[in-house]
């Protein structure tokens, strides 16, 4: 087709071409200046949608990192408190072993008991530790009230069993601590399943030296009495039914219901011991019972024999407590490790997400720079050719 060119269209097209290049130039300039490939979704709808989703993922990661930080702070505090508790309990155990020595006199017992009391106060103090914001660490969710209070010699727990969970991943939560109930209250007496007691009316020199399981599946947790009479023993249950009986031989194990009890010393007729299922007994009661056994003075031989059994029970309970606290510490340590892992995973994830986001939103400067120079070259060419073309007119020759 033979296209007629008109003067106005020569101008219009020239201007239009320059306009277009100028627009492109402004766009490249804005991209390079802001480092944003697009300023609204319409310029890249799919990328914009993906960008928003990655923004969300990135914000989630940031949240989880913050939670990990908060959980680490709390768990580190708890770890420190439990460390102090552990060493105090170990010291109490050492003291108890010392007090059990035959060479110890009343005066020494007194000072040992005094130190044990100090150590108990220290444990209580740790149980009432506060975090950086003044909330109690071991109060469960009742962070504003003192969790452990000594009321008339008994320590009572005022908190609850709720522990805050926080999110540290898309479907991962972690306990930010442990409640006082879990750490200090929910411990069983004795070795955790069986505990022993002694009648205070016992007159002989016999004492329980050991309790172990021969077949723990047979143990029913009931209360049994071991009665010694005329060189024989009998074990009766709560309803006075005899479950085991025989000749008493010093240090020979007496077995019933899957437990094996070792009694040593010479009993008097009518002496009796109790063997029963463990009960929940908090850390403070356990230590207090131990102190009560140690802080006794001017005892008769019969009383001393009773003390032996009581001390055995109290030491068993203390060992259970020490084991329990160490379990909790282990779980705290495991959680701290898990937090470290989660944190480095999130770091890696964040870096990856930021890279994707940069790929979506940010300007590729090499590409943009080449586009900039290309566009400005084209614009220059458009301008120069426009000047040339518009200068051509037949009227110039009509003068």
């Amino acid at each position: 087709m033979n296209f007629r060119v008109t003067t106005a269209s020569v101008f219009a097209q020239g201007v239009q071409a320059m306009q277009k290049q100028s627009q492109e130039l402004v766009k490249v300039q804005a991209q390079m200046a802001s480092n944003q490939r697009f300023s609204r979704a319409g310029e890249a709808p799919i990328e914009a949608g993906r960008g928003l989703n990655i923004d969300k993922a990135l914000a989630d990661s940031t949240q989880w990192q913050a939670n990990i930080g908060a959980a680490q702070d709390r768990l580190n505090l708890e770890e420190a408190a439990l460390g102090t508790v552990s060493s105090a309990l170990s010291r109490i155990r050492e003291l108890a072993v010392q007090a059990n020595s035959a060479a110890i006199g009343d005066l020494d017992r007194k000072s040992i008991a005094a130190e044990m009391k100090e150590r108990l106060t220290e444990v209580l103090d740790q149980a009432n530790t506060r975090d950086g914001q003044g909330g109690y660490l071991f109060a469960g969710s009742r962070v504003q009230s003192t969790p452990f209070e000594n009321v008339g010699g008994t320590v009572r727990y005022q908190g609850d069993a709720m522990v805050s969970l926080v999110n540290i991943g898309s479907s991962r939560q972690i306990l930010m601590g442990d409640s006082g109930a879990d750490v200090f209250v929910a411990v069983n007496s004795g070795d955790g399943r069986v505990d022993v007691g002694v009648d205070s009316a016992n007159k002989g020199g016999a004492a329980i030296k050991g309790v172990s399981f021969t077949d723990s599946s047979q143990w029913d947790g009931g209360t049994y009495r071991l009665q010694l009479d005329g060189g024989d023993y009998r074990v009766v249950d709560a309803d006075d039914n005899v479950v085991s009986s025989g000749r008493y031989v010093d240090q020979q194990a007496i077995q019933f219901r899957g437990v094996s009890v070792t009694v040593s010393g010479q009993p008097a007729d009518g002496d009796a011991f109790t063997i029963k299922g463990s009960e929940q007994q908090d850390v403070f009661t356990t230590v207090q019972k131990l102190i009560d056994v140690v802080a006794v003075y001017g005892r008769s031989p019969a009383q001393s024999a009773q003390d032996q059994t009581r001390l055995y029970s109290a030491m068993q309970s203390l060992d259970t407590v020490i084991g329990h606290v160490s379990d909790v510490r282990g779980s705290v340590g495991a959680r701290l490790n898990a937090l470290d892992d989660a944190s480095s995973q999130l770091d890696a994830r964040s870096i990856q997400l930021k890279e994707s986001l940069a790929g979506i939103r940010e300007v590729d400067y090499a590409e943009a720079a080449s586009r900039l120079s290309q566009t400005s070259t084209v614009l220059q060419a458009a301008q120069q050719s426009y000047m040339k073309v518009q200068a051509l007119s037949l009227f110039d020759y009509l003068r």
Binding site: R4, T7, G42, P45, L52, Q63, R142, N167, Q280, F395
Partner: protein, 628 residues
């Protein structure tokens, strides 16, 4: 001798005219809508002389060079261009609001849930509580601002449509007048068309096409008839109709009517193309769905957050109240309603919300609900009473009063929702971050059993906060408050009074747990954690999208519409430019061409003058011959 003079002077006259036309062309080289003209010369025939020569030249007519087919195409493309241009501009505006970091929803939505997360990590701190309130109020403010912007855009559309209507009326009057003038001039000047008036009318038609899509037809007397959309006459010869805006059936000033004299007819749904068509399309296809979708996000957010908040306990020991005021749907009765019915709607299932508006119509016996967009009928369940409302499209609809036959109501479930959502509490202690219940184990328990913290399943249960003692009578059986004998369910849980607990470990007969009000548990974050979970719940689109993914879907959708509109604009611009070039190629002025014509006609004029001069010389020689 006289004839050569006549021939010469006819040449002079003809080339004067030709030079005039060249002058006119040069003068109008840059006049918009001007079509170049050409002088058509014609040899005057012999008028009975003895010498076989002609009788000079005469101007047959001054022809306007134009191709009606190209012009018609150009007019059509003006309509398309104006439409896509309007769509692209408006959609870009909407897109800028929705996708801008500081104007869009995503940042403040994330900000709110970030704040809730902060609360979950430190539930007792009043500072983190304050951050939650600030985040929530920033979020509602963002919703409100977006709604305001959308409403302004909506009003702006009305205003622009009004302007377009005025302009259409003006232009059609102008075209009708030009039709008259052209007919008169044509009949007066026998064959010589009034070229410049025709150019003016063509320009007016193109301006009209910019406003709205039109159809034109040329009638025998040279007038052009113009009709809108599906054939309603806008201009008929010398008579013009006007376009006016009136109230539609729901009282909104949105009905576009074609009015001639007293009669008027609604053409709203028949219009297409031009600025007006673009505005209507933008409103229907982009703006309204976007507003509705944003509203549905607001509704889903407030419903889900409030429901979860109600399952928690605040620092006053009370169950959580509403954190956000829940938006209500908008119901507009039709102007012509004669009954006394009142309709109220509530969102009963945010996941089932559509992005549509509905018309509810009473046919005398029953109610019919149809989508205003697709016209599809929507099945209603229920009876419409307070106790058993109609349920459809995620709404529950209650009718009170008595409707009359053919009463109609317009239901816009989420149209204003983003503007209605507000923060409902200002007291940080009212944030229900804690669980309302706690379990505690009796100190005599065996220590082998555990009960999970209670999960609230029905916050509205009146017995929820009652203290309950669960006493195990065996590992999997229990009594409540010392009475009854119940079995623990197979999955190890106990359900009662709207809560659920799970049994852990192996309970021993006699183990007792107490559930009681969770007073004083200021550090409990149970419900804060559950509130945080709302961000991950699939609340929208039939339970397939979360709040934030619904927002990114909205941003992407409007973004695609915007991208599509600008692609269309680019394509249409190229097309229009090309057609314009075709038109210019036919009708435009080329100054070089005119310069050549100028020389050509000037030389011819000089030659004709030479003929006259020669005639003069001949005459002189004849006279002197006689004299001598």
């Amino acid at each position: 001798m006289a004839d050569i003079l006549g021939i010469g002077s006819s040449g002079l006259l003809a080339y004067r005219s030709a030079l005039n036309v060249v002058g006119q062309n040069i003068a109008n080289a840059n006049t918009e809508g001007y079509s170049r003209q050409r002088v058509n010369l014609e040899a005057r025939p012999l008028s009975g002389g003895s010498v076989p020569s002609g009788n000079g030249v005469t101007v047959r007519d001054v022809q306007r060079i134009s191709d009606q087919f190209v012009v018609n195409r150009l007019t059509g493309q003006d309509s398309s261009l104006a439409r896509v241009n309007t769509m692209a501009t408006q959609t870009a505006q909407l897109d800028t609001w929705l996708s801008g970091t500081d104007t869009g929803l995503s940042k403040s939505l994330q900000g709110f849930f970030d704040a809730v997360n902060g609360l979950s990590a430190n539930a007792s701190s009043s500072a983190t509580r304050q951050v939650v309130l600030t985040g929530a109020s920033a979020l509602t403010a963002r919703f409100n601002t977006l709604q305001n912007s959308f409403n302004e855009l909506d009003q702006d559309i009305d205003a622009r449509i009004g302007e377009a209507a005025t302009r259409i009326s003006e232009l059609s009057r102008q075209i009708a007048e030009l039709n008259d003038s052209i007919a008169q001039a044509t009949s007066k000047n026998a064959g010589q068309l009034p070229n410049d008036l025709i150019d003016q009318r063509e320009l007016a038609l193109r301006s009209l096409a910019d406003q709205v899509g039109i159809e034109t037809s040329l009638s025998e007397d040279g007038s052009i008839n113009v009709s809108l959309g599906t054939g309603q006459a806008l201009v008929l010869g010398g008579r013009a109709s006007s376009v006016v805006i009136g109230p539609d059936s729901f009282g909104r000033m949105r009905d576009i009517r074609l009015s001639s004299g007293a009669a008027s007819v609604s053409v709203t749904t028949q219009l297409s193309g031009g600025t007006m068509g673009g505005l209507l399309d933008f409103r229907r296809e982009v703006l309204e769905p976007a507003v509705n979708e944003l509203g549905s996000i607001a509704v889903a957010l407030s419903t889900a957050v409030n429901a979860q908040h109600a399952k928690g306990m605040d620092q006053y020991g009370q169950l959580g109240g509403a954190l956000f005021s829940t938006p209500s749907g908008t119901v507009t009765p039709a102007r012509g309603n004669t009954g006394t019915a009142t309709i109220t709607t509530q969102v009963s299932d945010a996941a089932a919300l559509t992005m549509q508006d509905y018309t509810l119509r009473f046919d005398g016996g029953s109610w019919q609900m149809t989508s205003t967009r697709t016209g599809e009928n929507v099945a209603l369940s229920g009876s419409g009473s307070q106790a058993d409302p109609f349920r459809a499209a995620g709404l529950s609809i209650v009718v009170t009063g008595s409707p009359a036959a053919s009463d109609q109501y317009l239901l816009q479930p989420t149209r204003d929702a983003a503007g209605q959502i507000k923060l409902a509490i200002t007291d940080t202690a009212r944030i229900a971050a804690a669980s309302p219940l706690r379990t505690s184990a009796a100190s005599t328990n065996s220590g082998l059993s555990r009960l999970s913290p209670p999960e609230v399943r029905d916050g509205a249960n009146p017995q929820l906060l009652q203290t309950v003692a669960i006493r195990f009578t065996a590992a999997d059986r229990y009594s409540i408050d010392g009475a009854g004998d119940y079995a623990v369910s197979a999955d190890g849980s106990i359900d009662l009074n709207g809560w659920r607990v799970s049994v852990g470990g192996v309970p021993v007969a006699g183990d007792t747990f107490t559930l009681s009000r969770n007073d004083g548990a200021s550090g409990d974050n149970t419900n804060a954690l559950a509130l945080l979970g709302v961000a991950e719940q699939n609340l929208l689109s039939g339970g397939r999208t979360t709040l934030s993914s619904a927002n990114s879907a909205l941003v992407s959708r409007v973004g695609s519409q915007s991208a599509q509109a600008s692609a269309q604009l680019d394509a249409q611009t190229a097309l229009s430019t090309q057609t314009q070039a075709e038109r210019d190629s036919v009708s435009g002025v080329n100054l070089d061409e005119e310069a050549a014509d100028l020389i050509r006609f000037q030389q011819a004029y000089q030659a004709a003058a030479q003929v006259v001069s020669t005639a003069n010389t001949l005459f002189d020689s004849l006279l002197s011959a006689i004299r001598s």
